[in-house]
Symmetry: C2
Subunit: 225 residues, 2 copies
DNA sequence: ACAAAAGTGTTTTCTATACACCCATGG
DNA sequence: CCATGGGTGTATAGAAAACACTTTTGT
């Protein structure tokens, strides 16, 4: 027992949304094992550091991205998952607006990039399996929690929210019914601003009402689209 | 990195149901720290053992209970959670019929017992927090998954299922609507047997149709009562 | 015959879905 | 004036909720 030699790491699956595409943040590994392969950002937990701290630190160190709302996803512990020996990894999960961060490679990472989740490269370790579970969770979340605040700009036209949902759901939704439903949840504040996308009628801008949004999340609203 | 000294353990939160009461399986610790305090069964993961194997092994060693469907709950990693040093614990979660097991204390456990979840003793480590999350998950589960197969006898009167749900939900449900809904799911096979509970009309016995039951679970049926 | 638990249908209300036209702007 | 995307209401169908009396047994 006292000479247990399992090592503990954390991984951060960070999803972004921009212009109808869901992407995930990956790094290209600088060192072996899996040198040159793409991987989910992450690394070893320090002895007296909390898991949340470790995952935020590693994410920031490796990609330049700093987020404060990472949610625990799952713990991966298959004995053979790391060729260096026994490494158990606690995976976390977060949502961001890619345009609010400059990504930049550093320690352990030769490169950092966003990949469309429909067009992923080969991945190191068991990261393909981790991503699969993360994507399932992302898709599952939108049926029981409001999503969007973390993924959209502060102010956005309603059509952005609509497009986010059609993208995540992978199917069309009825624009009128969707709007009725969301407006009915009272999470959006309508602004006095409009924005025009080049052609067509300019759209009213909305923003999430934070208080109401996080209250809804807490209550775990069942939210069938 | 290579001298990381975090230790990894697993804990098994096992719920049982009997006669209108939800209980959880706890052990009384034989050794320090927390000698004499009640705790969730669990222990350290061996170097080349899977997490699932570790949790089933520890549960069996400490309580005599052997289950094969433990689901991962959450990983607890607060640096101060164990006075012996840094121990991160992956908690699992399972459901059983208490009457199908003989519980028996052994290594590390001075005693084993079922406790009603409404009447818990003081607990070792952060086990109170772990149990809280496990109970929330248990209550959450019944709204999106059928529950009952694991908790009820093979053959049971419909009223047992009804009582299980009222207990878990903590409120009354409409007997007619509930019955309509469950029957409509096609998960129950009606038997030709009846059972009498002393007074009143004898009840028809049902059993779960395993195939249909696990199919429903997989599909993740939304199941509002 | 009465107490105790099991069994059973119908009506009402609410929610989800389907569906098509007008509006405001830029070019 | 036309192309483009934004904005809106109503009718229908289906699901959930409300609701109370009859049946079968033991005592």
């Amino acid at each position: 027992m006292s000479k247990q030699s399992i090592k503990l790491s954390v991984d951060a699956v960070v999803f972004g949304y921009e212009e109808g595409e869901i992407s995930v943040l990956l790094i290209k590994r600088k060192y072996d094992p899996f040198k040159g392969k793409w991987a989910i950002p992450g690394g070893f937990v320090k002895d007296y550091e909390s898991l949340e701290n470790a995952v935020e630190r590693e994410l920031h160190e490796e990609t330049g991205v700093k987020i404060s709302y990472l949610e625990q996803l799952y713990t991966f512990g298959k004995p053979s998952r790391d060729p260096r020996g026994r490494v158990v990894s606690v995976a976390y999960f977060g949502l961001v607006r890619p345009n609010t961060f400059k990504i930049s490679a550093s320690t352990d990472a030769e490169e950092v990039a966003w990949f469309n989740i429909k067009d992923l490269p080969q991945l190191a370790f068991d990261h393909k399996a981790i991503l699969k579970i993360a994507i399932e969770r992302l898709q599952g979340k939108i049926t029981y929690e409001p999503i969007g605040f973390e993924l959209l700009d502060k102010k956005f036209p309603f059509s952005d929210l609509e497009k986010l949902y059609t993208t995540l759901l992978g199917r069309d939704i009825d624009r009128r019914n969707f709007r009725k439903k969301i407006i009915g949840l009272n999470v959006l504040d309508e602004l006095d601003e409009k924005v025009s996308k080049g052609s067509g009628r300019p759209a009213i801008l909305f923003q999430f009402n934070q208080k109401r949004y996080f209250q809804l999340k807490k209550e775990g609203i069942i939210f069938e689209i």
